[in-house]
Structure formats: C-alpha cells, structure tokens
Amino acid sequence: MMGKKLFAATIGAGFMSASVQAADLEVIHWWTSGGEQKAVTVLAEEFNKLGNDKWVDTAVALGENARALTMQRILGGDAPGAAQFNTSRQFEELIEEGLLLDLTPVAEKEGWTDFIRPSSILNPCMKDGGIYCVPVNIHSAQWLWTNKKVFAEVGVKEPNTWEEFLSVAPKIREAGYIPLAFGGQGWQERHVFDVVLIGVTDEAFWNRLWKDKSVDAAGSAQMRKVFETFGALRQFTDAGAPGRNWNDATNMVITGKAAAQVMGDWARGEFAAADKVAEVDYGCIPGPSKRPYLTLGGDAFIFPKSSDQNLEAAQMKLASMMLSPYIQAKFNNTKGSLPVRADVDLTVADACMKKGLALLDDPKASITPANAYITEDTNGQIQDLVSTFWNEPSMSVDNALAVFKGIIEDAE
C-alpha cells in the first residue's frame, strides 16, 4: 500500500514539475578570475530572473580544461545545457556531427545577422544555413598594460613598439622592477608570441601565414625576426613566471611589482575590480606595434542538442538574453570586452574601452585571430613549439623556424 502511494506521489510530482516547465541549465565556462566572475554573475542572475529556469554554474579554471570537459561530456552523452568556447573553429566538428542546437528560429525572429557587428564575428557560428553559437563579446588580444607610476619613477616612456620596449626594459630592470609580468602557461606564451608576430610584421603577413598557410611566409626573414624578438623577452621576466595564472601576472602590474604585461582586453576587468582608473593609474597600449591591430575574437556559447523540450526552451531563452542590448551593455562593461552590437549604451566605457571601440571602427585595424583559420590540432602544435622555445633558451631560432615551417606545411 505504502509503496503504491509513494509511487503515485512521485508520478504526480513528475507531472507537476512538467507543468511548471522549469529546467536546470548547466553552463560550463572558464571565467574564474575576480573580474570574470563578476561578469558571469551578471548572466546567471539575469537569467534566473527571467523565470523558473535555473542557471547551474560549472566553472572550470583554464580554457583548455573547460573545453576538454565540454567535449568529453558531449561525446559521453551527458551534455551540459550550454558551454563557452572561443569564437573560432574549436567547435566546428560538433556542428558537423549535428550535436548542437540550431538557433536559427530565434536568430531570424530577432534579426541577429542585422545587428551583430562586425559580421565576421558570426562566421564561426554559421554552417550550412544554420546558426549554432552565440557570440557574447569581442575581445582583442593585442594590448600592453602598464603601470603608469612605475614608468614615471624609472623615467622612461611607455613603449609603443617592441623595439622601444626592448630599449627601455633594461632600465626598468635596473630600477628594481620586473619589466614584463609574465604567466608561463602554454596559452599565455602563445598569446605573447602572436602579439609579437603582428607587432613586428603586418596585416598582409598575418593573412599570408594563417589564412593562406604560406610555407614561404613561415620560413621567411620576417618570421625569424618574430622568434628573435620573442626570445629576447625571456630575460625581462621573473623566475616565478612558469605556471603563473594571467590574473596573478596582471596583479603584479596593479601592485607595481612589474611595469607591464601583454594580455588581452579582459585584463581591464582586473584593473577595474582593483578600483584603478584607466589612463591615470594604468595605461593600455594597442600592440605594441608600429600600427595598431586588434584581433576580433571573443567568447561564444554553444547549446548542445537535447531531447528535453523544457531544456531546449531554456536554451533558446538564454541565447536570446545574451544578445539583448541591456545584457550586452551590463555584461561587457563588467567584463571589459566590447559588445557585439552597436546600439548599446556605453556611457560608462572607460578610456581604454574607448580606445578599443575607436579601433573597431577602423576596418584596417582589425585582423582575424589565427584560430579562426587553423584547427585546434595545428594550434596545439604551434603552442607546444612556442612553449618549448620560450622555456629552453638553448633551442636555436633556426631550429624553431624549421619546426614552425613543418607545422604550417602540414596544416589543414
């Protein structure tokens, strides 16, 4: 008897929850630093306010770990409700295998293709007429963050190019500061490498190398200059760099232990969280480069397909919310990134963000990130090479160039 009653009660509860139509939407992301957490909390809180659906937060430190987890969960049949990726080819195969929810219905209704700018940021999401991801922001990687006080104290000018940096760095070191705050993790080494690459070459070279995968470019004298400049930076970092998180390195600039750090515009969130004022306490230099270039990458969310109608409705709702003008403004102001739509209130944008916005309007200044052109496999090979080269000064530039050329030759 008892058992029967219990059974009936369970069934009843099941029906009840179905009629409320609430779903738990698990979101995997790698926003774990102080500034990033504030930004993701905006999304979570606003989503929970929309109705009975709940944002279930799964934060995983380090992008590659988070992406690996998402892949494993999707392949293992235990997909999350949504997951963060970079706006790139990282999730291309998930689309090809039909594992992602097609967002076309909501995209057409709201006219995503009309207001998302630059339109190239939507390219990785589109495949065979469907739209499979939601770009939430635009991040540019090429920034040198400086501590104004340190530069004033040492009495040198903030560098605009890598040549200038290499000439002022010894003076900064003599004055007892670490010239370059550096985090020795594979992706950060690769990041600085790419910034140096565009800094000492130009847009045409960048496209020849990544878009056309030109072997000539990969083995050229310009590429040699890139490796040499990159290698010359080693001496200006401190002994504790290996394994350091990027935000810990940013903190060295904030606290005045180090003079500068190469990091994407997401570092701005850390300065803001520490109550520092742009262009007063800290400086932001696009590049360093003869001519400023910004890569237009960013973060995007994918929504794995599910058989649960309620979950699918919640996914569509989240996708739509992420692009709404209100959320775009609130989220990107907190995160330090640029919104993906132009009709957003940016009155609170600070000096550094305004610099970025101005460059965004200059079509000659924007380049597409390398990982939009090359596969994660190739990207990983380059990261391994760059990381080895950085950590083993005994590796010659010739050797590194030869390996690099080989990787580009095999790239798909």
């Binding site: 380090l62 590659e64 770990n65 992406r67 690996a68 892949m71 494993q72 392949l75 195969e93 998930l94 295998e97 020795g184 993790q185 594979g186 002994a239 504790g240 760099a241 290996p242 394994g243 596969t375 994660e376 496999d377 990207n379 990983g380 090979q381 391994d384 990381s387 080895t388 950085w390 950590n391 083993e392 390996v403």
Partner: protein
C-alpha cells in the same frame, strides 16, 4: 572424453559448475567487452585519420610517423622513464624504511602509521596543488627559509625546466610511499619470529637480518608494491595537470596527458590513439609476461 566426463561428475558438482559459470559470465563479458573490444577499437582508430570523432579513413602508419616526429611525445616518454624508475625505487626505499621504523615496536605506532599513510588518502589533484604552492619561489618553502636568514637557499624546482620533473617526483613519492609502508609492514609482521631468534643466535646484526634474510622473504610484497606503483606511473595525469600543467615548456609532459589533450581539446583522436597504443605496448611486452611468471605460472605447480 566429453561423455565420460559427463558421467563421472556427480550431480552436485555439476550444479556448482553451472552456477560458477553463471557467476563469472558478467565478469567475462565485461573483461572481453571492455578490455579486448575497446582496446582493439582504440588500436584500430590509431590507423585512421580520426579528428574529434572516430572515422575510418585509413592512413596506415601516418599517425605513428607524426607521433615519433613530435618532440613533445618524445619528451613525454623520456619524462615517464625518468619519473617511473625513480618513483618506484624511491617509494620502495622510503616505504621499507618507514615500515622497519614502525617494526621496532616504537611508541605511538598507530599514530605514526596514520601519519605515514595519510598522504595516500589525499587525491593527486590536492597533492599537486599543495606542492605547487610549497615550491612556488616567492610564496613557498624557499621564501620562508630565505626570510629566516639563509638568503642563498634555493628550492623552486617547478620553475626550472631542468628540475621540474623532480619537483613532481617529490610530490608523488610523498603521496605514495605510505601505501608501500603499509604493505611492507604487513609483510614484516608476517615474518616468523623464529627466524629472528635464529638470526640472533647466530649473531647476525639486525640490519643484515633485514637486508639479507627478511627482505628476500618479502618478495611477494615487493612485487605487489611494484605492480601497484607501476600502474600509477603509466597513468600519471592528474598530478601533472594540477602541479605543473606539463610545463615549464614541455618539461613535465607525460604520455597520458598527451593522449587526453589530443582526444579532447585538440580534436585529433587518430594521433591520441596512436599514442595510447604506444603506451599499451610496454605493458603488454614487459609487465604482462612478468606478471604471468610471478603469479599465474607458480599457481599451476
């Protein structure tokens, strides 16, 4: 032959046979399904051009060619050899000494036993993180000792590519030697007291008794320890991810990490499976026959 067996087996024995057959069927299915079929499938994939998803575009030995031409893989294998050999040897030595220490009928034996075994209760991720912080040059042990006055003291292996692997080794030995101690202590306690009396009558010093009489008698315990440790070596992954992330550079990369990185984030299942197959080979070629010799064959005598 078959019919005669049938006749000669009494009814009860036959029933037992059927029930034991029934009982072992699930295990047999799991063993064949998981080990043989899955391993076979993995090996098969290593000959394909599978990216994130398995496919059957055969490419022969291409993946193996690329694998052995990849410096990261070669470094991983070298690291595994250095780490594996030192890890097993150091764990055995440390475990044996701790067990001998406890065997001296010391006071608070159970307290020490818990203390020595405690690190083993900790996950490798926690172990890795704790040791990463202790080896951090500006926050960890080095900083503390330097501030106490010994300003030339240096202990930050993880930031130096040349020594990082030994930093990982220290953490691993710290974590695992307690297990060896527990096994060895059980072995020591199993030694007949008469042997100790006889050794004493013959006037053999205690250390010689341990080294030349007791230790050889503990051969089965040693083998168990080595097998358990060796399994831990081949699959070392979480410790690396937590403690160094494989860096600085490639200096603490390990084969298991290579496999997992390539079948997930890097989307190259073919290459990852080629690496996994290479990891399986030494197990099949060396450890398999050895276990057979030590365990399976003597049982048949």
């Amino acid at each position: 032959m078959a019919t005669s067996t049938k006749v000669s087996i009494p009814r009860r024995a036959k029933r037992v046979q059927i029930s034991s057959l029934l009982a072992s069927t699930p295990m047999a299915i799991v063993a064949i399904g998981v080990f043989v079929v899955c391993v076979g499938y993995s090996v098969m994939l290593s000959f394909t051009k599978s990216r994130l998803f398995p496919n059957f575009n055969w490419v022969g030995l291409d993946q193996y060619e690329r694998l052995w031409g990849t410096s990261r893989w070669v470094v991983s294998v070298e690291n595994l050899l250095i780490y594996g050999i030192l890890f097993i040897v150091l764990c055995l030595i440390a475990g044996f000494f701790m067990a001998v220490f406890l065997d001296q009928k010391v006071r608070f034996e159970s307290g020490f036993r818990t203390l020595f075994l405690y690190p083993y209760a900790m996950s490798l991720v926690v172990t890795g993180l704790v040791w990463q912080w202790m080896m951090e040059p500006s926050l960890g042990i080095q900083n503390v000792v330097q501030r106490m006055g010994w300003s030339s003291f240096e202990f930050a292996p993880l930031v130096d590519p040349q020594y990082a692997i030994y930093g990982v080794l220290i953490a691993a030995v710290w974590q695992s030697s307690g297990l060896v101690m527990a096994l060895m202590l059980a072995g020591l306690r199993g030694i007949d007291g008469e042997i100790w009396k006889a050794a004493r009558v013959d006037g053999i010093p205690t250390w010689q008794t341990y080294l030349f009489i007791v230790l050889p008698m503990m051969r089965p315990v040693m083998i168990t320890s080595v097998v358990l440790l060796a399994v831990g070596v081949v699959r070392v992954y979480d410790l690396i991810v937590a403690q160094t992330g494989g860096g600085p550079g490639m200096s603490t990369e390990m084969p298991a990490k290579f496999v997992i990185d390539h079948i997930t984030a890097r989307g190259n299942v073919g290459l990852g499976m080629a690496a996994a197959t290479m990891m399986l080979l030494p197990v099949l070629l060396v450890i398999g026959p050895w276990i057979y010799r030590e365990y399976v064959r003597p049982a048949k005598h």
